[in-house]
Amino acid sequence: MQPFIQFEAVSKSFGAHTVIDSLDLTIQQGEFLSLLGPSGSGKTTILMMLAGFERPTRGTITLEGTRIDQLPPHRREMGVVFQNYALFPHMTVAENVAFPLEMKKLPRAEIATKVERALDMVRLGQLKNRRPSQLSGGQQQRVALTRALVFEPRVILMDEPLGALDKQLREHMQLEIRELHKRLGLTIVFVTHDQSEALTMSDRIAVFNGGRIEQIDSPFVIYDTPRTRFVAQFIGETNLIEADVVNVQGGRATIALSDDLVAQVDAAPELAKGQKAWFSLRPERMRLGADPAGDNALTMTIADCIYHGDHMRVQLAQGQFTFTARCERLAGDWKVGAPVVVSFDPRDCTVLAP
């Protein structure tokens, strides 16, 4: 299948400073792709190159097989939602939404019905004669979204669109955007540095670091099998430990976590005996308790136990070596200083070459 959007060897420099370094990226039609990464990793730059506000220094961008990297923004048919909404302050809500339709030179009557329908869809019909300054943040956000959707652009680009909203409203808008994406079959490229937002909304997540893609995969794969140390650390919480590979046999490897702690893990094919490797294990994948079920059962000491409302965070130690486990609030009564058996499934461990 021909990719919908394709970046080929795209680089972008500002003066001597290279922000994007030879990026290859394909986006499928109807996909919800999140660009996730720390501040300054080049997410906005990529979006701006897609929207036409920045030109790549090198490389090409194609949309359905046609090169677009040299087209001006107004000829790209992409709906952009900016972080601060960027509504036209001198126009009413209805005029804002009508703007892209007027640019398409649609007949007046058609514009009116489309605006009406679009505003009703996001429950803003009542507010259509207000100015943006008379709306709440969430309402402004919905107007911006509607304005970007109403002219049926080929792609919707959003740059941290929910960053300015409070937590509750943000979660509500996440669901709303997800719903619109499913219902209208939109292609959405969504920039965020909020990992839970990326995990809940996306079909795929591209994790950026320093202008390069570290990993691009579905939220499941990104979370469960991070392919680089950066991804393992950046997404969710993890116990990341530099360890020695003691033995590799039939898809299983034995890893020495410390002098006297050894774990069995599912091994990546490239792993070799005697190698150093990074071992990653999510806190919620550990079980604490006396029963030594499974292949891994390490005896450790409870160093601290922190109450978090819906869960407990238990610090485990064995000499210099420490682990953080996350468990149910009622899973047990953990006494600081007491020994405990820590067990986990080899499949839940990730081992990364250094």
Partner: protein
């Protein structure tokens, strides 16, 4: 105690600034030919004189023609300059800005002499276009300052949004940038008109007898014979300027309120 001193000080300063003006203005309504108190009889004869005496009538017309011409010219040029200096790609934008604002600080006499010499070469001396251009030079800085301020208040993302929604650069300008800058442009134009209206020094150098403006006419009639007509003219000028200043202030206020609200 401190507050009382503050208030007293403020009132004194305002009085110091306003009293000379207030003291002379009632004399516009005297029926006597002398500028003296007490006023025995009130009349509008000096306003009639303004409207009928050829010299005065002509000067009022000249002021309006030259004022409007200079306003138009300086508003267009100043707005274009402000737009140009907004672009990031323009090198030395801040140097240019300083150059454009120079007429505000260069002594008017220097400008006047310079322009007179220049205009003679171009055949512009003692012509309407000459005076209009001369006034426009003085007015442009006011327009630039005012328009730049309102352009600075425009969020770039709003213009980007417009172009991503399908607006060509020209359309972005006339549907978004221009309407948002309009209050600044209008208040710049108001300042320009007011500046032209009471400009005397440069007019002395570049205008001929036919381009005698109201301010210039007042200046010379004070030297010839002090008649209450001058006061009547002054009153007209003051009222005109106050109206314009009020208009500018109202626009500025509206713009600030909008800017305040637009911030998320």
């Amino acid at each position: 105690m401190f507050r009382a001193i503050q208030t007293l000080f403020g009132v004194t300063i305002v009085g110091f600034l306003l009293l000379p003006i207030v003291a002379i203005l009632p004399l516009a309504f005297t029926s006597s030919v002398f500028l003296t108190y007490p006023i025995e009889d009130y009349s509008l004869r000096w306003f009639t004189e303004l409207a009928t005496a050829d010299a005065w009538r002509l000067s009022i017309m000249n002021s309006l023609i030259i004022g409007l011409g200079a306003t138009l010219l300086s508003t267009v040029l100043g707005t274009l300059a402000a737009l140009g200096m907004r672009s990031e790609v323009l090198p030395l934008a801040s140097l240019l800005r300083t150059v454009f604002l120079l007429p505000m600080v260069v002594p008017a006499v220097v400008l006047g002499v310079g322009m007179q010499m220049l205009f003679v070469n171009f055949g512009l001396a003692s012509t309407y276009p000459g005076v209009i251009v001369a006034h426009a030079v003085l007015c442009v800085p006011f327009v630039i300052v005012s328009v730049s301020a309102s352009l600075q208040g425009i969020d770039r993302a709003v213009e980007k949004a417009a172009s991503s929604l399908g607006a060509s650069p020209v359309t972005v300008f006339h549907r978004v940038t221009f309407p948002l800058a309009l209050p600044g442009i209008i208040s710049g134009a108001v300042f320009a008109f007011a500046t032209s209206l009471d400009e005397v020094v440069i007019t002395l150098f570049v205008a001929g007898p036919n381009q005698r403006t109201l301010a210039r006419q007042m200046f010379s009639s004070i030297r010839e014979n002090i008649s209450p007509t001058v006061v009547a003219a002054a009153l007209l000028l003051i009222i005109g300027t106050l109206c314009l200043a009020g208009l500018a202030a109202a626009l500025r206020w509206r713009q600030e309120r909008n800017a305040l609200r637009a911030a998320p």
